[in-house]
Symmetry: C2
Subunit: 242 residues, 2 copies
């Protein structure tokens, strides 16, 4: 069973890719809606709860962990891999860093936490935090003129980038509008990570059981987001183990 966690509902955009590539797997999802967003929180806080959640998912029977949250990947990824040495842990960043080395100029957009962590820093990378994108997506304003203007404002310094990394789980939901503003190749890390996961996992036979979606508090606009990501509603289990 694949344990997937995120600070909230955005990780469902990663679940979408897992379902596409590994249709026979089962996932257990934990969205830390009680403590979201991670993107503007301190690194210690993010580490502490990422560790608690990983432990909890393992206790529930997960044997592979996907850190869907980019902030958590940036601030806790390395720590979790050391802390849980025998467990395969996939974060949203390291598989992408390898894939992107051949571009001359890359733009990376993410939460303040992800950008501040400097995990994406490289000579060929320009980065920018876009704190308005998450509330825009959660408000469902994914094709409004205002949203286009905000995207334009955030991307205005990204001249001549060849690729643009959407380093936050919510951002792929703005992909259509982002494509109107930039000609750069859009990179959704969830797709890269899921390919790596596919190489690792055997998807030949159907894993028994049900997919489970836990949230530590009532998720805001879950209906909208799950339809946007998965094309259907999911049944949330509201439970805060911490």
């Amino acid at each position: 069973m694949i344990g997937v966690f995120d600070s909230g509902v955005g990780g469902l955009s990663v679940v979408k890719e897992i379902f596409k590539s590994l249709p026979n797997q089962k996932i257990i999802y934990f969205g830390d809606t009680a403590r979201l967003p991670y993107g503007t929180k301190g690194a210690d806080f993010v580490k502490k709860y990422s560790e608690k959640i990983t432990e909890w998912l393992l206790g529930k029977g997960a044997n592979v962990i996907v850190i869907a949250c980019h902030t958590s990947s940036a601030q806790a990824g390395k720590y979790l891999k050391e802390r849980f040495k025998n467990i395969p842990i996939f974060d949203m960043i390291s598989p992408c860093l390898q894939e992107l080395s051949h571009f001359n100029r890359i733009g990376v957009i993410g939460t303040p936490g992800t950008i501040k962590s400097r995990v994406w820093d490289a000579p060929n990378v320009v980065s920018k935090s876009c704190p308005l994108f998450v509330p825009l997506v959660e408000e469902g304003w994914i094709d409004k003129e205002i949203t286009k203007e905000i995207v334009k404002e955030y991307l205005k310094d990204f001249n001549n980038i060849e690729a643009l990394v959407l380093a936050c789980t919510h951002y792929p939901m703005l992909e259509k509008i982002i494509k109107k503003i930039t000609k750069a190749k859009i990179i959704d890390p969830a797709k890269i990570v899921t390919q790596k996961l596919k190489l690792f996992l055997d998807d030949e036979s159907v894993v028994p059981g049900e997919n489970q979606f836990f949230f530590s508090d009532e998720p805001y606009n879950l209906k909208k987001i799950s339809k946007l990501c998965l094309g259907k509603e999911i049944k949330p289990i509201i439970y805060d183990p911490f």
Copy 2:
């Protein structure tokens, strides 16, 4: 000592009014940045932490409590007043409800939590949640054309209102731009609440000690917000007692 709490830094707009009206008082502030925002969380969560924070502030020597957070006022105000019967507790809503009864048509804007709580519901009230306003303020986009467009979008159904209540601590920081969109009288509950507080407290002699500002996690953009609200930077104490 006045104990003031909020989910984050927005409550500093309430502190601003307290400093103006009661210059001799001392405050102890708690911003629950580790768990912010409250505005999209469930009512039980907000109640639980509002109670914990009130207890903690009383333990630190506060003898009056101001619930600066509107979501907390809406979802936990009544509960806290019952739970701490002997302590004077001021919330952001009840003093305003009395003041506003003479208007024929009032608009109220706040977080999803405040609006969902229906605490503002009345025959003469139309209300709307504006989840993008908080991140706009925290991003410092308080006088951008985009912000004006977003304000316009949110207020488009507020025809013929006589007064507009800014029922979230961040919103007064958008007052200038809101005034460009609506001719309604702008009501900042912090001003009304502070007047009530002034009737209650004797401000004749200087309370000794220092103002203290606690935050349960590193606050995002504190410098910007404290300058905006208080005209100067404050020294945060980062401490999570829970």
